[in-house]
């Protein structure tokens, strides 16, 4: 009897132990599934908030997500124990929940999920990234050698290899890099294939079959300088001497040629036609071309420079003297570059696919996604002393055809724009003028009706227009002679850099910010995404 009781007791103990084990097992499984669900719903709250931020950068409302048996919450209310912080529209960091430092132009999202009594927290930091590509094309990107791609935080560190960071190459077709001397620091991303030759040095990820690269579409003609204050219309299509442009300039010609270089002194040149430059482009400014652009020769473009071209762009530096740009090169055609150094961004965006060919070219992506510089608008060269504000009043001594004696006749030139071609002032042809007789000790009488004044001089067979035609070339020669000693356009003598512009000048900024052409949803990136 006692033995039977002991056996029964043992069986009971074993049975209850087994029951306990099974109950624990079920509880553990249930808890594990709940924990996973709590995590998913916390992440869903963050994802929903992120989706709202893509649409509305100022979004700061509470988010609640409900799954069967689970709830996820996210709040921007700083009075709550766990809160998110939207710092997207700030240029400085801000304090977030739990001492988190939320960077400038970033948002800290804290999601809390609950399921079956199990809580899970997840945090994420999203930020607005700068344009990630050093070169991006709507079509193929190819190189047969000598291509270097990287990025630097400071253009001054361009030559310091240790300070280089990844700069990406992107294509909405394929990328084919082969040949010696190719060194890519950064990702290579293409919708199609990515082919890297055996000699290519590549640190980064090769991503064929990727999503299309976001390419800004810049409306080139929007930057027409027509109507801009002080805009100078270039009077000729070919400049045999080096030319420095300041302020706004414009030229409408089949092909505008600079045979000995183009220097930009905070100048903006708009070319309605094609552009050819031999001797390189230097200085700070912007060149906008509605046709094709070809630049040959080496030069160093310091400061900020933008080259926008609707047609193909061909850049040919020299083996011993690279063409250097700092800023942005954009084309809606193809891009062909050799012996070029660009600290900035290369963009080729033709709807049908631009081909970008880069040989012996160094591209360094810099933090500044665009170009920004001041344009100083200076008035035309000062008229000679004694002239009226409305134009140049020049005395031209003419002979009285009746008496043979001198007569003072003045030509009032309408205000006209002069262009300094690097060595001499050039007048656009032809300036308009009015003939004004200056009668000694008397009033100035405009030649309205020559018949009234002709008797004074009694010229024989002469008409006011004839006199004007006779006098005008003389006046122009006289004007050139006078202006020979007038300094060319530029900062006033003795003016310090950054000092006041010449009297009568005004200053406005020329800006091209790539971020304005890219949707915020295409700029937002994940900086951090983790369990808390």
């Amino acid at each position: 009897m006692a033995t039977a009781l002991v056996v029964v007791a043992l069986l009971l103990a074993l049975g209850f132990t087994a029951a306990g084990v099974s109950t624990s097992s079920l509880n553990l499984a249930s808890r594990a599934v709940n924990a996973q669900t709590a995590r998913n719903v916390a992440e869903a709250a963050i994802s929903e908030a992120a989706a709202e931020l893509l649409k509305t950068p100022t979004f700061a409302q509470n988010v609640t997500v409900r799954f069967p048996g689970a709830t996820g919450n996210l709040t921007f209310d700083r009075n709550e124990r766990l809160f998110s912080t939207n710092n997207l529209d700030s240029d400085s960091s801000a304090p977030g929940c739990g001492g988190t430092v939320v960077p400038a132009q970033a948002v800290h999202l804290l999601g809390v999920g609950e399921c079956g009594g199990v809580e899970h927290r997840l945090e994420a930091i999203l930020f607005l990234s700068r344009y990630p590509f050093a070169v991006a094309s709507s079509g193929p990107v190819v190189s047969q050698g000598g291509l270097q791609v990287a990025a630097v935080d400071d253009p001054a560190d361009a030559e310091v290899l240790e300070d280089r960071r990844p700069g990406a190459v992107g294509s909405n077709a394929e990328i084919d890099l082969s040949g010696p001397g190719i060194d890519i620091l950064g990702d290579v991303q293409a919708v199609g294939a990515v082919r890297l030759g055996p000699g290519v040095k590549h640190e980064g990820e090769a991503r064929p079959g990727s999503d299309p690269v976001v390419l800004p579409r810049i409306e080139v003609t929007r930057y027409d300088t027509a109507g801009k204050p002080g805009v100078v219309e270039l009077s000729q299509a070919t400049f045999a001497e080096p030319l420095t442009l300041t302020g706004y300039s414009r030229c409408a010609a089949e092909t505008l040629k600079f045979e000995r270089g183009l220097a930009l002194a905070n100048g903006v040149l708009y070319v309605e036609g094609n552009l050819e430059v031999q001797g390189g482009i230097s200085g700070t400014g912007a060149v906008i071309v509605t046709g094709t652009t070809r630049v040959e020769g080496g030069a160093a473009a310091a400061g900020q420079t933008a080259l926008l071209s609707k047609g193909d762009v061909t850049l040919r530096g020299l083996p011993g003297a690279y063409q250097a740009f700092q800023g942005l090169i954009y084309t809606e055609g193809n891009l062909d570059s050799r012996y070029l150094k660009l600290n900035g961004i290369f963009l080729a965006n033709n709807a049908g696919g631009s081909t970008v060919r880069l040989d012996d070219t160094r591209l360094l992506k810099t933090p500044i996604d665009g170009v920004d510089f001041p344009v100083t608008v200076t008035p035309a060269a000062s008229p000679p002393p004694g002239a009226t504000a409305e134009g140049s009043l020049l005395d031209v001594v003419m002979s009285d055809p009746t008496t043979g004696g001198p007569v003072v006749a003045s030509l009032l030139l309408d205000r006209t724009r002069l262009v300094w071609d690097g060595s001499a002032w050039q007048l656009p042809a032809p300036p308009t003028a009015a003939l004004v007789w200056v009668i000694p000790s008397g009033p100035t009488i405009p030649v309205v009706d020559g018949d009234e004044l002709m008797p004074y001089l009694k010229p024989r067979g002469a008409t006011p227009k004839g006199l004007l035609a006779l006098a005008l070339p003389t006046v122009l020669d006289r004007l050139r002679l006078i202006l020979k000693d007038v300094p060319p356009p530029g900062p006033s003598p003795g003016a310090q850099p950054g000092g006041s512009p010449p009297p009568g000048s005004s200053s406005e900024r020329w800006t091209l910010d790539l971020s304005k052409f890219i949707l915020q949803q295409d700029r937002m990136r994940v900086l951090l995404w983790r369990d808390v």
Binding site: A19, S30, A50, A51, L54, R525, V526
Partner: protein
């Protein structure tokens, strides 16, 4: 009798918990696969997935992708399996926003 019934019941319970964990793992794995794909490639709709057999148990799977708006998708993966007594179902759900990661 009651005591003797504890043993098979406990064994079934342990097996049930293992199957539930396995199903949850399969569902979560598929969710992560979907989340790793580029957003534009996630096409809304419901579709079956190949069944998976683990330890003699066949787990059927299906997924459902719904568009909440042009920036947010709702992903669901449902796993069902049958033990000696009945069919069980487990669903895991997730949202994915149009964010490159």
């Amino acid at each position: 009798m009651m005591v003797f019934n504890l043993f098979p019941s406990s064994s079934l319970a342990v097996h049930r918990s293992k199957q539930e964990l396995q199903a949850a793992s399969l569902a979560q794995a598929r969710l992560e696969e979907l989340r790793s794909q580029p957003f534009p490639r996630l096409t809304p709709g419901a579709s079956p997935l190949p069944a998976v057999e683990v330890d003699g148990v066949k787990y059927g799977r299906r997924q459902e992708i719904a568009r909440k708006n042009d920036r947010l998708l709702d992903l669901k993966v449902t796993v069902d399996w049958t033990d000696a007594r009945r069919t069980h179902t487990l669903t895991q759900e997730a949202y994915v926003a149009r964010l490159p990661r």
